[in-house]
Symmetry: C2
Subunit: 167 residues, 2 copies
DNA sequence: TTAATTATTTGACTAATATCAAAATATACC
DNA sequence: GGTATATTTTGATATTAGTCAAATAATTAA
C-alpha cells in the first residue's frame, strides 16, 4: 500500500507531463501548485490548476494510455506522491475500498469540471473574473496573469483591463 | 439485480428531471434522445444531449442530493431504465464489479466533458459548428437548431448564419 | 386543408473582445 | 545594484458575434 507511492520533488517550471508522452502515473499534490496547458496556434492555453491535496494527472492519457495532449508544468516548487497506473489497478483489485475512493474522486472531479463548464459559458470577461475572485481567490493570488487569462477563456489584455476596472 | 431497474417510457417534451427537485435516479437511455438545460437570464441553455446507450442523470443532484440546477427534457419519445441511488449503492456494496463499472463510466463521462471543454474554448462559431458536424453529426440530425446553438455557446442567429455559409 | 403555433432565417445595428504594437512595471540573475 | 528578461498594462483599431425586430418557413392541430 504505502510502498505503491513514491515521493517526487520538483522545482518551479519543471514539467510533470509533456504532450506527446503517455502519462502512466497519478499524482497526489502535497505541496505547491501547477497547471495543465495545451498549445493552440502557438499559444499556451491553461485549462486547469491544481493545489494542495489535489489529484493530478493527464486524465485523458492516464485513462486511455494514449499520448497526452496537454503539458503539466509546476507553478511553484512541489512535493508530490506518485503511483503508477498498474499499481493503482492492483490496489483496486486487492482493496474494494480503493476502487470506491477512486470512483468518488471521479465524481468530485466530474462535478468540478461541469461547474466550470456551466459557469464559463455565456459570461462576460468581467463576470468570469469576478466569479474567480469570489470562488477561487487562491488562483489569483498564486498564479501569473497570463495563465489565468486563458483559463477564463479571454485574452491577457482583456483580463488586464478588467482587473484595472475592478480594483 | 434485474429487479433494481424499472422501465420508463415517456413522450417528447416530457421532463425527466425538473430544476429545484432532487434527482435520486440514474437512467439508462435505451431508445430516443434528450437534453439537459438550465435557465440563464430567461433563456434555456442546453449543455448536453444524450442518445441511445447513454447513462443519464442530473449528476450534480444525483451525487450530492442537492436540488437539481438543470432540467432534463425529452427531444423524442424515449425508453429508459431507471435505478434509484439507494439501489445502486446496494448493488455496488454487493458486487464489486458494479462499482468498477460505475467507476469506468465516470472516467468515460469525465473525458467526454473534458474534450468538449477544450474543444469549445477559443473556437469561432464556424469552427464550433463544423467540429460538431464532423464529430457528432447525429446531434445535427436529431436536435432542433435552438438547442444546438446554446450547446455550442453561440446565439441562434449566429448559428443560422454559420449554417447558411457552410452549406 | 387551413389556421395557429413554433422554428428558422435575414437585416441593421451595437457591443464586447481580440489583435497588434508599444510602453511600463516587475522579477530574476549576475 | 544594475542589467536582462519576463510580465503586465495601455492605446488604437479590427472582428466577431450579440441583440432586437421582422420576415419566412416549417410543424402541429383543428
Amino acid at each position: 500500500m504505502r510502498e505503491s507511492f513514491n515521493e517526487v520533488t520538483l522545482t518551479k517550471n519543471d514539467y510533470l507531463v509533456r504532450e506527446g508522452k503517455t502519462c502512466r502515473h497519478l499524482y497526489f499534490l502535497q505541496q505547491g501548485c501547477l497547471r495543465g496547458f495545451y498549445n493552440l496556434d502557438g499559444k499556451e492555453i491553461t485549462h486547469w490548476f491544481a493545489f494542495e491535496n489535489d489529484f493530478v494527472t493527464s486524465f485523458y492519457s492516464f485513462i486511455t494510455l494514449q499520448p497526452a495532449v496537454e503539458n503539466i508544468q509546476l507553478l511553484e516548487n512541489c512535493t508530490l506522491w506518485s503511483i503508477s497506473k498498474d499499481s493503482l489497478t492492483n490496489l483496486m483489485n486487492r482493496y474494494t475500498d480503493i476502487e470506491r475512493l477512486v470512483r468518488i474522486a471521479y465524481e468530485t472531479y466530474y462535478l468540478r469540471l461541469e461547474e466550470r463548464f456551466i459557469n464559463g459559458q455565456f459570461k462576460t470577461a468581467v463576470e468570469r473574473y469576478s466569479d474567480l475572485l469570489q470562488h477561487t481567490p487562491h488562483i489569483v493570488e498564486r498564479v501569473p496573469l497570463g495563465c489565468i487569462a486563458s483559463y477564463l477563456g479571454i485574452s491577457q489584455e482583456t483580463l488586464s483591463r478588467v482587473r484595472g476596472k475592478l480594483i
